[in-house]
Symmetry: C2
Subunit: 167 residues, 2 copies
C-alpha cells in the first residue's frame, strides 16, 4: 500500500492512460502486491494474495492483468520449469535490482543473484549488438538462467546415493 504511493500512483495512471488503458482497483492491487514482494509469484499466488483483501477479484482478471503488465514491460514473466509461469516487477529506479536466477532442478528453489551481473550485462549488450547487425534482429529482451543443485539438495542426494551397510 505504502510502496504504491511512494512509487507515485500518478505515474502509473499516466502510464496506463497513455496506452488507452484504465487504472482499476484490481490492477492497483496487483501492482502493489508485486511491488512489496521479491518473491517469484505464480498467477495463483497473486490471486490468493489479492483475494485476501478483495475477495471479488477473480482469477481471470489476475491472468489478464499480469499479461497486460508483461506487454507493457512493467512485469517480467519467467518459466522455472515447474509448469506454471512466475512473475516479478521489472527493475525500477527505486531500489529493485536487476538480477538473474539460479534454479535448483531437485527442489525448485530459486536463487536471485546480481553479483556477476555487470560483466554479464556488458557481454550481453555486445552480443546483442552483433546479433542485431548480423541477423537484422531487433532484440528487446534476454534471458539467462543457471540450473543445478542447491546446497541442501546436494547433501540430500549424496546421502541417498551412499551405499548402505547391508549391501
Amino acid at each position: 500500500m505504502r510502496g504504491f504511493h511512494r512509487m507515485n500512483a500518478g505515474w502509473w495512471h499516466g502510464r496506463f492512460r497513455g496506452c488507452g488503458y484504465r487504472i482499476t482497483l484490481p490492477r492497483q492491487m496487483i501492482i502493489e502486491l508485486l511491488n512489496r514482494t521479491t518473491a517469484h509469484l505464480s498467477a495463483e499466488d497473486v490471486y490468493l494474495e489479492v483475494h485476501k483483501m478483495h475477495s471479488d477479484i477473480g482469477l481471470t482478471t489476475v491472468y489478464r492483468t499480469l499479461e497486460l503488465l508483461v506487454q507493457m514491460g512493467i512485469v517480467l514473466k519467467f518459466d522455472f520449469g515447474d509448469g506454471r509461469a512466475r512473475y516479478e516487477l521489472a527493475e525500477t529506479s527505486k531500489g529493485r535490482k536487476h538480477h538473474h536466477h539460479m534454479v535448483c532442478t531437485n527442489c525448485g528453489r530459486i536463487i536471485d543473484y546480481a553479483d556477476f551481473i555487470d560483466e554479464e550485462i556488458e557481454l550481453l549488450s555486445r552480443t546483442e549488438k552483433g546479433l542485431s547487425k548480423k541477423f537484422n534482429f531487433e532484440i528487446t529482451n534476454h534471458l539467462i538462467q543457471f540450473y543445478g543443485l542447491c546446497d541442501q539438495c546436494q547433501k540430500t542426494i549424496k546421502r541417498l546415493s551412499r551405499p548402505s551397510v547391508s549391501q
Copy 2:
C-alpha cells in the same frame, strides 16, 4: 537411418544398457529423427514424423522417450514461449555445434546462432565458478536466449503501425 549407423548404434546401446535401459525400436527411431534434423521439434512433431514410418508408435512413448533422453543428457529441452516444449539433440562430437537461440516474439521464429558463443561460454563458465563458490550451488546447465523481432516482423509491424491516408 544412415545417420544413426554413422553415429555407431553400439554406442547408443552401451549408453542405454549402462543405465539399465533397453534400446528399443521407438527409441531408435526417435534418436535417428533428432539426429537427422536441426529443427526444434515439439513432442507432437516427433510423434507425427516417427508415426510416418511406424504407425504403431504412440504419443505417450514419444513423451516418455524424450523425457528419458533429457534425463540422460542426450537431448536438450527448450521453452520458446509457445506453450509446448521443444527438443533437440545435444551437441555431439559429430558436427553438431553448440548454439544459442533468438526467439521472435511476434511470429515465433527461432534463429540459431553460434557466432558469439566462445565469449559467452567463457563468461558463463567464469560466472558458474563464482556462483557455485558463493552459493555452494552445483551448476549443471545454463540457458541464454534473446527475444525480439525478426527481420520480417519488423517490416510487418512498421507497415501496420503507419497511419493510413484516410486518417
